[in-house]
C-alpha cells in the first residue's frame, strides 16, 4: 500500500509529491491527463517573493498587500507563512533549474502586477507557470516518482471520517481502478470551467477533487468567490497576462480614452471594465502599442502569438479587444494551517483547496507561490500522517459501487444532450453569477440549476465504448459541475454583502459585522447545507 497518494499533477501535486518523497514516503501521483498538461502551465505573470531585486520590497509589505487585497477574509497567520516562505520558495525553484528571466546584474528579474505596491513577481518571459511546471516534472523524474496518467478521479474511499484511497476510471482501458493509500493529497485544481467558454482556464478545470471531497462529507469554504480576470480576449476568453499592464499597457474605452487605474486589483478592475462595456460604449481595449515591438517580443512573446491567432490582430500595431472572464476560484476544500481537511489523512493544496490566503480577491503572482509553499507543507504532513497511521479502510464497497455506476452510465440512454446543457450553464453563470450579482438573479440561477439536476438522470454519454471515452469523462465532469454550481450559488445567496470578487448590486457595501467570516458548504445526506 502507498503512504501518500497525490491526486492531480499540476504544480501543487508535483511539489507535494517531491516533498512527501523527500520525507521518506512511498508516493504515487494520479493524473487526469499528463503531468505537464496542467492548468499551472497557463500561469504567465509570475511568482511573488519579496526579493527586492527591482526595488526596495519586504516580506512585511508583501503581507500587507496580500491582506489588503483579501478584503478581511483571509487569515493573517496563513498569509504570513505564504509570504515569509516565499523567498525560500523562489530560491528552491532557482536551485532545481527554473530558468527565470534575469536582470543585467544577474539577479532574478521581477515585475509589478496589479494590486502590488512593488515589483515582486519573478518571471520567465510570459511562460512562468510552464517553466516552473516542467522543472518540477523533471525533478519528479529524477526522484523516480510513479505517475499513473489518464485516470479520472471518481470517489474517495473513506471509513469513519478517515481516507484510505480513491477509485478512478482508467481512461485508456475504461476500467474502474482502486488506489489504496494511507493518506491522500487532493491537488486537482479549481472550478472556473463552471463558466465554460467564459473562462480563461483549460477545459479540465472542472473541480473534480472538490466534488469528490463534498460527496465524502468534507467541507468546502468560500465557494462564492470567483476571480474574474480583467483582460481576456473578447472572442475566445484567452488570457492576456497582467504583466502587459504591469509593463505599462493601457485600458481604453471605445473613444480611445483611459478610464481606470490599470494596476488596481482584479476585482475592482473587472467591475470597472464591465461598467464601461454595459454603460459606456460596449467595447474595451488593451493597448500595448507604445511598449514597442522589441519589448513585446522579449517580455510578452506568447501574448503576441495568441492575439494574432485568435483575434487576427497584431498587438504591436493594433488595439486588443478584451472582456473580463472567470479565471481563478478562491473557494475550495477547507484546510487548516497544516493543509489538513476535516477528514483524517486527507490533505488539500493548490487551487482546489482554500488555505485562506487569497480571501475575497487573489493577488496576481500569489497562486504559483501558494503551490510551492503549501505543496511542501501538504507533502510533508501527508507523509508524517502516513508514517504514524496503521488504519486501513474497507475498499470493496466503494469499488463495487463505482463499477456499477460507470456500467449504468454506459447502459443508460441519453434523452437530453448534456453538451447543450453545459453551454447553457456557462451562459447562466456568466450572466447571473458573474462580476455583478443580486438576489433575484442568483435565485433564478438556482432554480434553473435545480431543473438541470433533475434532468441529470436523463442524460449520459452517447458514446458507449470503453476505450478512451472522452464523451463519458466530459459527462462525469459536467455532473461534478452541477454539484459545485449549487455550492457556489447557495454561498453567493447567503452572503448579502459585497466583498472583493463577490459584488452584490443589491448589497453594495462590505458588512464586517455580519459577514466577516467564511461560508462553509457541506453535504448532509442528499442535501447541501451552508453556514457561516
Amino acid at each position: 500500500m502507498l503512504d501518500v497518494l497525490i491526486i492531480g499533477s499540476g504544480g501543487a501535486g508535483l511539489v507535494a509529491a517531491l516533498h512527501a518523497k523527500a520525507s521518506g514516503a512511498n508516493v504515487a501521483v494520479v493524473s487526469k491527463s499528463y503531468p505537464t498538461r496542467a492548468q499551472t502551465c497557463m500561469a504567465q505573470g509570475g511568482i511573488n517573493a519579496a526579493l527586492s531585486h527591482a526595488d526596495i520590497d519586504s516580506v512585511e509589505i508583501h503581507i500587507e498587500d496580500t491582506l489588503k487585497s483579501s478584503q478581511g477574509l483571509a487569515s493573517k497567520e496563513a498569509i504570513e507563512v505564504l509570504c515569509r516562505e516565499g523567498v525560500e520558495a523562489v530560491e528552491w525553484l532557482d536551485r532545481i533549474g527554473v530558468p527565470f528571466s534575469r536582470t543585467q546584474e544577474g539577479e532574478i528579474a521581477q515585475r509589478r502586477l496589479g494590486g502590488a505596491t512593488h515589483a515582486r513577481a519573478c518571471y520567465a518571459q510570459d511562460y512562468t507557470g510552464l517553466k516552473i511546471l516542467h522543472a518540477l516534472y523533471d525533478q519528479c523524474n529524477k526522484e523516480g516518482i510513479a505517475f499513473y496518467n489518464e485516470r479520472y478521479l471518481l470517489n474517495l474511499i473513506t471509513e469513519e471520517n478517515c481516507v484510505g484511497g480513491v477509485t478512478v476510471l482508467n481512461i485508456k482501458t475504461g476500467e474502474v481502478e482502486l488506489f489504496k493509500s494511507k493518506s491522500v493529497v487532493l491537488a486537482t485544481g479549481g472550478y472556473s470551467r463552471l463558466y465554460t467558454k467564459y473562462s480563461t482556464n483549460a477545459t479540465g478545470s472542472t473541480g473534480d477533487g472538490l466534488a469528490a471531497a463534498l460527496r465524502a462529507g468534507v467541507k468546502l469554504s468560500d465557494m462564492e468567490f470567483v476571480q474574474f480576470h480583467p483582460t481576456a480576449l473578447k472572442n475566445s476568453s484567452i488570457l492576456i497576462s497582467e504583466s502587459a499592464r504591469g509593463a505599462g499597457g493601457h485600458l481604453l474605452n471605445k473613444d480611445g480614452e483611459r478610464f481606470t487605474d490599470e494596476l488596481a486589483p482584479r476585482d475592482k478592475l473587472s467591475q470597472a471594465i464591465l461598467e464601461e462595456i454595459e454603460h459606456g460604449g460596449g467595447e474595451v481595449f488593451l493597448d500595448i502599442r507604445h511598449l514597442g515591438e522589441a519589448f513585446i517580443d522579449e517580455e510578452l512573446p506568447q501574448e503576441r502569438k495568441l492575439v494574432k491567432l485568435y483575434e487576427d490582430i497584431d498587438p504591436v500595431k493594433e488595439l486588443i479587444p478584451i472582456k473580463p472572464v472567470a479565471h481563478y476560484t478562491m473557494g475550495g476544500i477547507a484546510v487548516d494551517n497544516n493543509s489538513q481537511t476535516d477528514m483524517k489523512g486527507l490533505f488539500g493544496v493548490g487551487e482546489c483547496a482554500n488555505h485562506n490566503v487569497h480571501g475575497a480577491n487573489r493577488l496576481g503572482g500569489n497562486s504559483l507561490l501558494e503551490l510551492i509553499v503549501f505543496g511542501k507543507q501538504a507533502g510533508e504532513n501527508a507523509s508524517r500522517y502516513a508514517q504514524g497511521s496503521s488504519l486501513t479502510c474497507k475498499t470493496d464497497e466503494q469499488l463495487a459501487r463505482d463499477k456499477k455506476f460507470i456500467q449504468e452510465l454506459r447502459e443508460r440512454s441519453s434523452e437530453i444532450d448534456f453538451y447543450a446543457k453545459r453551454a447553457a450553464l456557462g451562459e447562466l453563470f456568466y450572466k447571473n453569477v458573474g462580476i455583478k450579482r443580486n438576489e433575484k438573479d442568483l435565485q433564478a440561477a438556482l432554480d434553473e440549476l435545480y431543473a438541470l439536476q433533475e434532468q441529470l438522470p436523463q442524460m449520459s454519454a452517447t458514446d458507449k465504448s470503453k476505450i478512451y471515452n472522452t464523451n463519458l469523462i466530459e459527462f462525469l465532469e459536467f455532473s461534478n459541475m452541477l454539484t459545485l454550481a449549487e455550492a457556489v450559488l447557495i454561498s453567493a445567496l447567503h452572503r448579502r454583502e459585497s466583498r472583493g470578487a463577490h459584488f452584490r448590486s443589491d448589497a453594495p457595501d462590505r458588512d464586517d459585522i455580519l459577514f466577516q467570516k467564511h461560508t462553509i458548504t457541506y453535504k448532509e445526506g442528499e442535501s447541501l447545507c451552508t453556514y457561516m
Binding site: 496542467a38 528571466s101 543585467q104 522543472a135 523524474n141 485508456k172 447543450a420 478512451y468
Partner: protein, 231 residues
Amino acid sequence: MHLHVKRADESVTYELESGSETLLALLEKIKTAQDASLSFASDCRSSVCGSCAVRVNGVEVLACAHKPQDGDTVEPLRNLPLIRDLVVDMDRALTCNTVAQAFSSTNSENIKVSQTDEKLNELQSDCILCGACYSACPVYAVNENFIGPFALTRSWRYVSDVREQDVADKINAIQKDGVWDCTLCNECVPVCPQGIAPKQDIVMLRSKSGVLGHMDPNMFGGGGLDFGAVR
C-alpha cells in the same frame, strides 16, 4: 467546409460551417454537435499544454494553433502507440526524459546566472512535450529505444545551464541510442510549434560529448569513412 478525420482504418468526413476558428474549435464542434464519439486530447487551447498535437495533411501541428482549410485531412501523430482516433499514448516517449537524465542534478547556489546565460536555453525550456518531433522523427520510427528529439533538447537545456554541476553523467546517459543515432535529417525542426530546433541541440550535445572524450561510434568500423582499401 469539409474535414476528413482518420479514425482507426477509415477516414470520416465531417461537414462544418467555415469560419476563422482553430482546428481544435472545429473538433469540439464536431464532438458536441455531430459525433460525440470522436476522440481527441486537448486542454489549454493556448498552445502551452501540448495535448492537442495531430497531423494535418501529413504535417504535425497543434490543433489549437492551426486554422484549417477546406478538405484538410486530420490524423493522429505517428510513431506513438495509437489509443483511439486522434489520441496517442505518450507514456513511453515521456520515459525518454528520465533515460536522458534531463533534469537538474546538482545545482550550486552560488553561481550567478547572467542575462546571457539565461538566454542559452530560454528557447529549449519553452518545450511543451507535445510529441510532434517524435512523430516526425524517422529514427524513432525504426528504433523505439532512440531517446528522441524532445528528450535530447531537454538534456541540452540542463547541460547548457551554467548552474548545473553534474554534466558528465548527463552526457554519458545520451551516448547509447542517443546523440549519435540521430541522422541530422532536420525533420523535427519545422514541426516544432515552439520554434525549437532539436537537431541543433543534438549537434551541441555531440560537440559537448566530444569535449568530454566520447566519440561517434560510427566513425570507425563499418559505417566510417572508406579510403578505398582493397577487400
